[in-house]
Amino acid sequence: MARYFIRRALSVIPTLFIVITLSFFLIRLAPGGPFARERDVPEAILQNLLKRYHMDEPLFKQYLRYMGDILRWDFGPSYRYRDLTVNEIIDHGLPVSMSLGVISLALAVVGGIAVGIISALNQNKWQDYVAVSVAVIGISVPLFVMGPVLQLVFGMRLKILPIGQWVSTHGLKAIILPAVTLAFPYFAYIARLSRASILEVLRSDYIRTARAKGLKESAVVWKHVLKGALLPVVTYLGPAFSGIVVGSIVIESVFLVPGIGRPFVQSALNRDYTLIMAEVVVYSLILIIANLVVDIIYGLLDPRISYK
């Protein structure tokens, strides 16, 4: 197990190396540059800007310089946000994005499984119909529609939750709407997934065995159904977390959440190379780590899988 973990962790390095190298050259292939403005920067200033950020050097030298910096976890200065280093921007935003992501994932998983259980155990009763309808809405309504609708209802009409901004302005209730919006599609999918998989497990032979042993229905569900039924949900956690991380880019704009998603969009639009690179590295790391964690959880849950 430990060896497996170390091997997987080491395999992150070549992956990251490829991601960084490709991104470095790809973003420089995109037309335009960090200093392009509608009102052109005068040539003299432009030259000084390029010199200041070492962009006058040959590309390969810039690449080596960048790789050297990144080994020291130094992402360099942001071209757009002149007062902040890229590290500062990431340090500000990452905890926010991570807490939003983790809370959303937790909501999606806990809520989704709970609803999945309720609707599977009440198959074809009203609870099930309600849950299935909610799931269909969740899966089919995009984030950028769901967000504003919730804002309108809870922020504008009922006035019980803030429309936007974060904990420092509104306290913990600022998390509710963005987290719920972000979690919703994944909640819905997990509810559907766990419902289907619980129903399948409920029909399985070993559940019949458990019942024939005289176990209470609650013990059957908690002890015998869930572990097997939740494996597909665990498998889905990887894609779900990636989805939530990507979705949070939209959600951050809609709810003015000061995470790393908004600077990501801005950096891409403004060709803020250093910031784009840092965002790519951070997002890649998050996704790689998330997948590793999911693999490990899966292995812990399913005794048939062994890590060697």
Partner: protein, 516 residues
Amino acid sequence: MRKILFALFALLAVAGLSAQEFTMVNGAEPTSLDPHAVEGVPEHRIYTALFEGLTINDPRTNRALPAVAESWSFSKDYKTCTFKLRRGTTWSDGVEITADTVVQSWLRKMDPKNAFQYADLPAMYIAGAQEYLDGKAGPESVKIRAVDKYTFEVQLVGPIPFFADMVSHYAFAIVPLHAIEKYGTDWVKPDKMVSNGPFVLSEWKPQEKIVVVKNNKYWDAKNVVLKKITFIANDDINVGYNLYKSGAADWTEAVPLELMDEAKLRKDFHVAPQYGTYYYIFNVTRKPLDDARVRKALAMSINKNDIVNKVTRGGQIAANGFVPPSTGYTPAKGYGYDPATARKLLAEAGYPDGKGFPTLSILYNTSSSHKSIAEFIQAQWKENLGISVNLLNQEWGTYLDTRSQSHNFDIARAGWIGDYLDPSTFLDMFVTGGTQNDGLYSNKTYDELLQKSRETSGNERYQLLMEAEKVLIDQDMAILPLYYYVTQNLIDTDKWDGWYPNPLNVHPWKFIRPKK
């Protein structure tokens, strides 16, 4: 428990309504708080709260009002401007501001090593500054000096009667060099920042908000009523609009196009002419756009009134001329909607009924409103001239590159909002080889007229500029003006005093206060 809660809510309600605190939806996260590094409207609004230059803008007319300078005067030829500094104005840490501070500040802005964008703006007007900026001369070549501790003198490249208006711009900011020296780039962080405006920085949460509080060391502090201003950073205009509507913000200026009809019914929605123009650039090096008759035909076959009334719907003003009208300046007449003449001109150019006319494309940066306008024009040209055009949208960075670097376009959407109230901010763009001359227009007469305007002043200068615009529009139709921008602001002026619609959309914070 319920009583306590109720009391808390009551308190919150009072605090929320507390009219000495002001919250605005400020748009994108500011790129910097350093006045010399900024560009853009959200940054400008924060700048006007934290800093003051030699002058500030009058909240109604945008003309210069005394600030760090209590008075100013021009030499007879309008080539030298002398500012008398107010005695005893200090930074928020108590350090005095003197004429030397101004000199050093301006030199910092133009120092080529600092590579500040917009450094070319002062360099364009101050004698000897361009050489310094280009690295061809040292700072001593810049013709600014401290005559004495409280007298600051600028020598200009020509007669520039609007120079005092111009120095309210952040490109002419005065900065606390002692603090910059001490803290380096960190000087703008909340615990270190020193400023001289009516407010000082109290809190900066990147991507979230900036909070400023009243500066008690401000020279006119007794006339500043607001105690606190919160600038909310947002990239989504729908949220901004919702924040305002829900009462969480007191001022926002962006209204989503699809909610325009709703916003227009509101009493607190202020639409006013803005010093800016939305236009299309013709790439005049490409056939058949190199033919002025073709360009005129294209211009005359667009019903611009329909664009503002049916497409943009936000009170914009259809424009035939390029420079927005202002006191003493009448824009070129241009050409109105006249499909018959348009067809005739197109036939003369060799494309009767649009036959043989190549399929051009309209380039715009990705946005639903640019798209709606382009689609409307596409339909008009089809209907009135029988020609087809493609629509080509590109994301901002790519679009800028196509438009200004490779010039690989036929017709491109553009917009320009004046930095200061003078026609030259528009007309300077189209001189041969100008950095914003993306359509590669070149006309000797035009260049000469503009050159001459730089050497004259007053009414004579305006005549030259009007003449130049006639060449640009009436004669050559080098660009196709579509409409004049308007400022759109949502702010309840029944509640707030000191806020007035104005052409530069600049609203100095010291005047804004709750109505009694």
